[in-house]
Symmetry: D2
Subunit: 502 residues, 4 copies
């Protein structure tokens, strides 16, 4: 049975921060051609403002070096690759949300590393040298890109120090934070700095301790960062890691909880909260990322997260990513919105659709959002189901009555899921090739496009009436905008001579 | 009720000349950027070998000139534009099928013209100067493009001399032919020359007279050319010209009749027959060209025409065309496979699909053709109905049994018609805009893509079983090729962890 | 002997309107690919703001049409091509400076035409229909491109009505002006309209009469337009038209004279003066346009014209131009800054160099201009000589003392003339081919580049010392800007290990 | 004083293998966008056939992996990156000359590595697994690229096993060779395999032992490979490594010596000899690579090396290279023909010029080569001097008398050195910036172009007379080909109206 909804003529602002930031594999990957191809695709359709990833100070970007000459050791800062990476970002209309980390070889105090690409996670041999690295790097960026530009780049201190990404103690992280934040502010007091970049382990303890530390030490703190993943524990199985998902509102609850903790500290209560990583699964080997389920599931999160967070950076925009080794196939469970070979995954469209949402929120429930921009409706619907029962869930059905914005309007609908914009299914039908031939690629890219249809709407008693069915694991967007019918200007136009055209 | 068909394992050669040649608006238009954009699109997907149009010797290409100096008149041949046009063709992998005409200003004997662009159709003031123009032009082309290349370019003498395109008599045309053919052969005896390029008026009289003339005069004649349009008479109405269509087999019958006439003359019987123009309607202001009906209708012709004709050149590849004035809107009833703004019309896909047909013909009826290339089936279906009864015709339904070419295969289906690859309908829903905004263009280009779906086929008792329904005014292509299932190489792969993927 | 010049540290504003506007062949040519290629080249290097040419209302653009239906005649305005042309301009960062003309076939009162492409120059059959054509066209442009954009497009009424471009009387032109200006202002009073677009024949009479007419009738008049060509009478000779040139100051004198006439009318005295066409020769078949002489000669004009005129629109940016028939060869004496096949002529660089001139004028004489922008000197020098004496003129030699803008600076010099950026000479060495092979094109494009050299300048007593020699028919630009010497940051750098590098 | 040379009308074949192969940084770098940009540049101008570099089996390409599941270990071969790299090569018209190495992490027997990027150089833990890796990889390549293609890719076993690139003994290398060669031949006996890929240390011992081993064991050996560098010992100094050069004939002598050793073994004497690496300096931190000296110096080698070697692969085509860490500046002494930011170094042109040399050798001395192709002369001259004396060496001066190939010819000269095509000098004048602004890049790219001039030659007594001066550290190419003078076809052409054009 359909839900009947009378959409009101006006609403309240839609807090939509979907395009604020997106995640990326380590920054050194931005030298790769395929990475850049994917970035272009994402920016053409979605236009994120910021990009955040690890590895700014890792040795593949290669900034911190030391050189011996005549018996003396000189520090040397090599910005060849950093400049190329930043050029690439800015040329593609995206700015860095800088994450300070990990530890350069020459500054490390131990050999603990994370990932296939071996990011060193030990505290610095000298906090002064670490601070100097930050200052020199930011000043170099200012010299190259201009002060007014660089002060708009937020700076986050380290990544997930509450788990294995930091080989020191919590107190050592706070020391790292203090040195880092001071170094940032020394470059320009307008630069925004924040932390603690934790994932969801001992959240309350870390947040409270961090807040209290900053307040006590009067350390600069312009925004709070944390990560949210909604998956349950993992099961390793050969080349895959599997796990089940919590409900998408799990993430909304985490955001509320974070805001709650923040609200206890007047200095903290109203500053920005950036979710610098989020996704369903937190491993790049889990098939969920490649599914149409994920698109519908993430859409539910996108419909509400902006109420609590100033950004929520999907981890990550591309499958050009090496944390768990070189990708082994076109579809391999990677985080990306785009798979190897530039194929858009279903979740890509969750971001594209929300990037087009209107500024005004007229209606929202668990499966539907109705927004408006000037004289255009943008409606997004989704219906996720994890299929653990091996059964399609029922359609979500709606009959919408929308205040008319003109005598005639066109409704353009884009659908994702099932037989469309679901390239992993087509890839499976192709036999699951690891690399693609030209023909396979053409089939997959066509299969990755949403199903677009359109229809004419006519005002009836001041409204448009729209029926909508959202099948299991589908995501859709409806754009409705007025059209000016020019048929009268076609001299001699006779409907019946158009072979069935309406 | 479905037609059940047991497709045999082998058949006979499919006589498919669909990519041999395509028509174009007058050659001077090849200087335009939009023309070139359309040519690129057509060549990417269809790769025609030859292109034929009017206007080689018209004054906008500007070859024949005279210059006065010191009281004397010198002929001057200006190849600036011709070279640019030919460069464009060759860069896009297409060769000219040269049509000699119309008459340059300086060689005309009267003022009769055709078209908005005023092609002069009068006999030459001097047949010797006309012949000289041909010789000089071909020799110039040989100098620029090489003799071995240019001798592969067929030459047709004039256009439709049996109607208003020729202000002289039939005998005068024969004289023009003799001078022209001799001029061509003088350049290189290997160059192929033909005529009489007539349309379907007094066909028998013209063909017989022409054949007898050439035989009697021993005039060179390497191939026969004529035109075929299947429309009934026209009704003018404002900016449109309407008419109804004959059955597509009307054209097949015309081809048979032409072959019959040819067969009476031993010297003629077995030479090539080129249909240097064909289409449903013969006016560039008739909506039929823009419809899904036309795609299905032309497909019927393409399925059989190769049995009788060595080529059938669709008139024309692009709506960049000015015979009836500058196009007035995106869709205006133009001949093109591609409309203004680079939007592919339904009929574009009739040519694309047949360009992919296999070399072996396994089955053919009035709505379906089954072909094969090595280990790949290419099946094309169509179902045309002119909608004069305002009712959808019934689906054409098939159950095909195809000899298996591997344990597993993928079936990729592309559908044209109705809600897909039918951009004129979407354009109508948009209010029929004459020029397009960027957003309108994006919607239309997406709407112009065929609906692609895919499925896995499994061998059952040596066969694949395929059910196919072709709705009213739809055209479809099914490609079936074996796949190698690599699922076993995915260590730890568990079907149930893929959220419903099969 | 060298001229020694102590350049002062500051000067006065350089009135430089070089990039305000450029001329074009008739607007219908903007559909051509090669035209667009040339426009891109010009805009990449020079970035003109406006483009002005004939033919807005000519029948190849095809705006004004009439259609008969059911015994009635309907006017029809076809904007298909106009929109494509304007899209092209705006996509390339250039706006139209609209010229209203010539007369559409359906509105003409006679058969007088100009040019190979037959622009009809007769008065309208109805001044009301003419005004309606203007209003409908401008309103269409506003609908498509936005009101705020279109009101920045100036509108000039007709072209050179004082000679054969207008088949009516002067008074009839004034009537045309009044109707046109009123139609423009009816669309939006902010739109700027002007005239009388005369060439240098009976200048004083036309200007005075026109001013007095507008004042008397209170006709809108936002700016004055006229044309300036500096050539003497023509000699026709086969495919060429030859003539000699006046001194470049001839044009400066014409500008002063025009300002003088304007100054007699208080309402007119201080409005804008746009030279909507200028060049040396006024025929597109005169070799002077292709020479290095012309670059140096035009540079002299560009160095001073801004003192008197708000714009001076070089006629024209490209040899894609058909007033005197289709171009007959790569170099044929056309007006363009760029020849067929996208080869930059020497004069191209006169515009490029002046487009880079500084906002501050420090020094100017007959062969040199020294300008400054912030911390950068831009110096342009030229030395023209018409070679009628078959002898090279002596070099112009300078020793400049420039106030230093840093301890070290780089001087980058670009030279045009003689063996460099003089492709007509190379083309002559190639045997004067009419169309080019790929290799010939590559040689010519390389030969069309200026000779670039660079040198280090060091401050000496607060100045840089620069010696400059400008040979006969050379043009050069020197850019001087400070450099930060980073040599010290190269650890272990030893000058003597660099094989002669300084 | 000039050398007078009467060039004969015919000569002998010029053994020119300059385009056979070029070196590259490790294969994993081929994923980078800048690497691909440089490859495109090189292929546009030079079109090498093969490319050879290290790192096929290194862990950044990531082929060899092992995976645990259910207590068992499975080998896994990941070809994701390899396929992308090979696609890139083939798309750019270049094939791999495969080098088998270095050792994957999972197959290593120790921790010895080379380079900043840590290539492991220890023998395999199992020679069978190593052979399996080869076989699986080559079979995969055949599956993807086709057998007929892949059998044209030569295979070299390891790199410089005679120094620190091999942690085993000579005998262990021979064992590696035997296993490898057998694995290659097992894939397809037509595949060509060779070694020992040594550098110039204990050459004679290694070659003889290797030849004797292969003969004795009847191991497949299709070609011999070695490396040649002409530098003396190194001096480390901060970020640079300096050394002086031997005369370029040093390399020619090494080639002769190698051929001499080969000639002692009948089975070996006449097989191919590939110099799979050569250059002046063998370190990527030596300024010589960036100089005009190097262009002239390498040209001397290129003029003769083909007499003795079937290929000589310049090490390397691009400064995208990381053996000695990430490049620290635009010019940093890297091996590449192209520096960071796509700036062509002088030596680029040595390869471009020799790639255009004619098939017929008419004259050769220490500074000049005269070749001919059909009706075109290609003359290359060079004059190297190491500037250790701080003085320019004298010009090499020639007066050439060349048998005429037509009444008129054009001479097109391209010069490299000094003020032209010497971008490191301009970069030094710019203050030696490490990263470039857009303006700096434009200046440098223009400064990197050769100086092109042209002149007309006229036959005099059957010859053309050409004077040529080659200044110190210059390289030049002269192309002479006949032109057809079309001046007569220009009606009304008057030389004196062309403002000094000849």
């Amino acid at each position: 049975m359909s839900k009947e909804i009378n959409v009101p003529a006006s609403g309240r602002p839609f807090k939509n921060n979907v395009t604020y930031c997106v995640g990326t594999g380590r920054m050194g990957l931005a030298l790769q051609k395929e990475y850049i191809d994917h970035l272009k695709l994402v920016q053409q359709s979605i236009r994120f403002q910021y990009i955040r990833g690890h590895g700014l100070f890792c040795d593949d970007v290669g900034i911190y070096r030391e050189c011996e000459m005549d018996g003396k050791t000189y520090p040397f800062y090599n910005f060849t690759y950093l400049d190329r990476i930043m050029d690439t970002y800015l040329e593609n209309g995206i700015k860095p949300f800088l994450e300070l980390g990990f530890m350069p070889e020459k500054l490390k105090t131990g050999d603990k590393t994370v990932f296939y690409w071996k990011g060193n996670v030990t505290p610095p041999v000298s906090y002064e040298k670490w601070a100097e690295l930050i200052t020199v790097t930011l000043n170099h960026l200012i010299e190259r890109y201009g002060r007014e530009e660089v002060v708009t780049w937020p700076v986050e201190v380290w990544n997930e120090p509450n788990i294995l990404f930091w080989a020191g103690t919590m107190e050592e992280y706070f020391m790292l934070y203090d040195y880092s934040a001071a170094a940032v502010k020394k470059v320009d007091p307008r630069m925004q700095v924040g932390g603690p970049a934790i994932c969801g382990v001992e959240t309350e303890k870390w947040l409270k301790s961090f807040f209290e530390h900053c307040i006590k030490k009067d350390s600069p703190l312009d925004f709070i960062t944390r990560h949210c993943y909604t998956a349950n524990e993992t099961t390793n199985c050969g080349h895959y890691i599997y796990h089940t998902m919590n409900d998408p509102t799990y993430m909304i609850e985490e955001l509320k909880e974070t805001r709650q903790i923040m609200s206890d500290y007047p200095r903290i209560a109203n500053i920005q909260l950036h979710i610098t990583e989020f996704n369903s699964s937190y491993v790049p080997l889990c098939p969920v990322h490649d599914t149409d389920f994920n698109a519908a599931y993430i859409a539910r999160i996108l419909s509400e997260a902006g109420e609590y967070a100033d950004s929520y950076s999907y981890w990550t925009f591309s499958d050009v990513f090496e944390e768990a080794d070189v990708p082994k196939s076109v579809f391999h469970g990677g985080f990306g919105l785009i798979s190897m070979n530039s194929i858009k995954k279903p979740t890509f469209y969750a971001f594209e659709f929300f990037s087009k949402a209107g500024r005004e929120l007229l209606y929202r429930d668990d499966h539907l959002i109705v927004t408006k921009n000037d004289d255009r409706y943008v409606i997004i619907g989704w219906n996720w189901h994890d299929m653990r029962d091996n059964k399609q869930s029922p359609d979500e059905s709606y009959v919408l009555s929308l205040p008319a914005i003109g005598e005639q309007a066109i409704l353009v609908k884009k659908e994702v899921g099932g037989a469309h914009a679901n390239p992993m299914q087509t890839w499976s039908n192709l036999g699951k090739p690891r690399s693609l031939s030209g023909e396979q690629l053409a089939i997959l890219q066509a299969s990755a496009e949403p199903l677009q249809t359109d229809a004419k709407l006519f005002e009836q008693e001041g409204n448009y009436k729209v029926e909508l069915k959202i099948p299991c694991n589908h995501l859709c967007m409806l754009e409705i905008f007025p059209v000016c019918d020019k048929t009268d200007t076609y001299l001699g136009y006779k409907q019946e001579e158009f072979y069935g055209m309406e």
